[in-house]
């Protein structure tokens, strides 16, 4: 489409990128009387780095002093219980253990403990016996540990989707499948071009994750680079639930990563990972043999009972690390009104609520007048999770809405009503339904329920099954109708 033919739209704040940073920022800004628009290139929010995140809410003891990571991590951690309660998002304060497997590693354990004390992070030193009492499946080699009880795990995709839903309920606007393909400045105004729209904005917030440097460069603002760093994760069958009760960190061997962890996810599965490998391409989302081997050899040192045969799925994500080695949270020195929230690598998820909460302050410092909305509603309409209800509650629910009596995903006990609700809230794809409801995320990996979910998506969205996709245009799952290929041959 020619630029002249595109729809023009003017807003006060345009956010580029619907990851955890963009969506939480949109929610924070929806507290004020502002036109806020979020542009997301994918079919749904939360599909980049956010989706493939380990989901750890860090305690705030790993980050080096003086960094923005340290500045935002612990305050972010402290915001999670209320945030997740308001947005009805799965969050478990499982606690974080950093475990020493040799005497010489105890120095680091003490260092983390001291750091915790200095920062006001609740921490305890645990003896070998105390650790093993708390985590009986840990290696016999454990020497001691520091325990941070307020660390935990969240479902990162769920949080991004919930934050966006709440922001929209409070007046923010979301445009999906809207990649920014051009950007420029004219006078005080900044412009963003998508395949269908030209957006005029007073402020542009660059929360484009892996592509934040490319968005900056479109504005002629070329002073940082995003260097993708891959992390592979392996998720276990719920059968292994309870193997660990918290999130287990080794004492890291290097400064670049916190090591490979054993994670008790917010949904109760055990997950192990991530690796930490610099990769050249921003679409290098493949898992590897070597990643699998490293992850298992590292984590089985911590928890010998991790059985590779019980893996149900694996995935890789790319951290949007900056060439500064720290977050970049600042107005561009070159383009007035362009706010970068970039280089948000670990502990970015934990820091995200604190970063988002800082954005209104940063706008005010730049002279923007923000007037709070009186009717801001911080709570998202609650989500029904059938599997978590009592038999009596389940029975009553089915009487109100028979679709709760139609079980779609048997592995995770997800009903048709929950899937329809997820679609009403913005799910457009098989992955979107899966991440919102867990339908298809279990041991059979959607072998049984995918055809049914496809039928529901097709019905609710009013599109043919051949247009139902895994994660947006191009990833349709079934390509042809019965008999369609007969007589046509294969090219």
């Amino acid at each position: 489409m020619k630029r002249e033919a595109k729809t023009k739209k003017a807003v006060q704040v345009a956010i580029v990128g619907g990851g955890i940073i963009g969506t939480l920022t949109a929610r924070e800004l929806s507290r004020y009387q502002l036109d806020v628009l979020l542009l997301e290139k994918e079919a749904e929010v939360g599909w980049g780095t956010t989706k493939a995140n380990s989901g750890i809410v860090h305690a705030g003891i790993h980050e080096d002093p003086g960094t923005l990571k340290a500045k935002y991590c612990f305050p972010g951690n402290q915001m999670f219980p209320r945030l997740c309660e308001e947005l009805d998002v799965s969050f478990k304060q499982t606690g974080i253990l950093v475990v020493a497997l040799a005497e010489e590693e105890m120095d680091m354990v003490h260092m983390y403990y001291q750091r915790g004390l200095e920062r006001g992070v609740p921490v305890r030193l645990l003896s070998r016996e105390e650790v093993l009492a708390q985590e009986p499946n840990l290696s016999e080699d454990v020497v001691g540990s520091v325990f941070a009880p307020e660390g935990g795990a969240v479902m990162p995709f769920e949080l991004a989707a919930a934050a966006m839903e709440n922001a929209v309920a409070n007046g923010a606007e979301l445009m999906t499948e809207s990649p920014v393909i051009g950007a420029w400045v004219e006078g005080e105004k900044k412009y963003l071009e998508t395949p269908t729209h030209i957006i005029e904005a007073d402020v542009v917030i660059n929360a484009a994750g892996l592509f934040a440097d490319e968005i900056a460069r479109m504005f002629g603002d070329d002073y940082f680079r995003i260097l993708p760093r891959k992390g592979e994760e392996y998720l276990f069958d719920l059968e292994l639930a309870g193997l660990v009760n918290s999130i287990i960190f080794p004492v890291p061997a290097s400064k670049i990563s916190k090591g490979i962890l054993v994670i008790h996810t917010a949904d109760g599965n055990i997950m192990i990972g991530p690796t930490s490998d610099n990769v050249p391409a921003k679409d290098d989302l493949g898992t590897t043999y070597s990643g699998f081997e490293r992850i298992f050899s590292e984590t089985r040192r911590l928890v010998p009972g991790l059985d590779p045969r019980k893996v149900i799925t694996q995935f890789a994500g790319l951290r949007a690390a900056s060439d500064r080695g720290d977050f970049i949270i600042e107005f561009s020195p070159n383009v007035p009104g362009l706010l970068h929230l970039a280089g948000i690598e670990s502990p970015g998820l934990t820091a995200a609520p604190a970063i988002a909460a800082d954005v209104p302050k940063m706008l005010e410092e730049q002279g923007f007048k923000l007037t709070p909305k009186e009717n801001f509603q911080p709570r998202r309409e609650g989500v029904v999770r059938f599997r978590q209800l009592s038999r009596k509650e389940q029975d009553e629910l089915i009487r109100q809405n028979p679709a709760y009596g139609r079980m779609v995903c048997r592995c995770e006990t997800v009903t048709e009503a929950e899937i329809v609700d997820a679609i009403r809230r913005g799910a457009r794809t098989l992955d979107g339904v899966k991440f919102r409801t867990r339908a298809g995320a279990g041991r059979c990996q959607s072998g049984f329920c995918q055809p049914v979910i496809m039928e529901i998506l097709s019905r609710e969205l009013g599109i043919p099954a051949e247009q139902v996709s895994k994660r947006g245009a191009g990833s349709e799952q079934v390509k042809y109708e019965a008999k369609e290929l007969l007589g046509k041959g294969v090219s």
Partner: protein, 122 residues
């Protein structure tokens, strides 16, 4: 010329070796452990046959497709043609197992029959 045919009559899966003459005639047949193997290999060499199982579209049924099969095997070489012939077939629900969908399918002297009951959607 030697031709090897795996007998599929029973799980033993004998490899039957046929010596074939210039006009396609069988000169010798070895490797089979029983008489059924000889019958099978001879037939498989001279006029191989297969039962076709596939689906046809159905209107008003609880499923969009009806599974069907030929009630007798058809020449192996006719499978593709037979599939093409099913492409535009549409039957109407309800259907009972054994109902004839196409009589004398492709003039082969076999019928295409429904392989299950398929009710009308209410």
């Amino acid at each position: 010329m030697l031709k090897r045919i795996t007998c599929t009559v029973c799980p033993l899966s004998c490899e039957v070796v046929l010596e074939i003459g210039e006009n396609g005639e069988i000169l010798s047949l070895t490797g089979n452990k029983c008489a059924r193997g000889k019958t099978y290999a001879t037939k498989e060499h001279t006029a191989p046959e297969r039962t076709l199982t596939t689906t046809v579209k159905i209107k008003g049924g609880v499923h969009p497709l009806l599974p069907v099969r030929t009630d007798q095997p058809i020449p192996k070489g006719k499978l593709r043609e037979a599939m093409l012939a099913t492409a535009d077939l549409v039957v109407e629900a309800p259907v009972k197992m054994g109902d004839v969908v196409v009589e004398n399918f492709l003039d082969l002297g076999v019928n295409l029959i429904a392989s299950r009951d398929l009710d009308r959607v209410e």
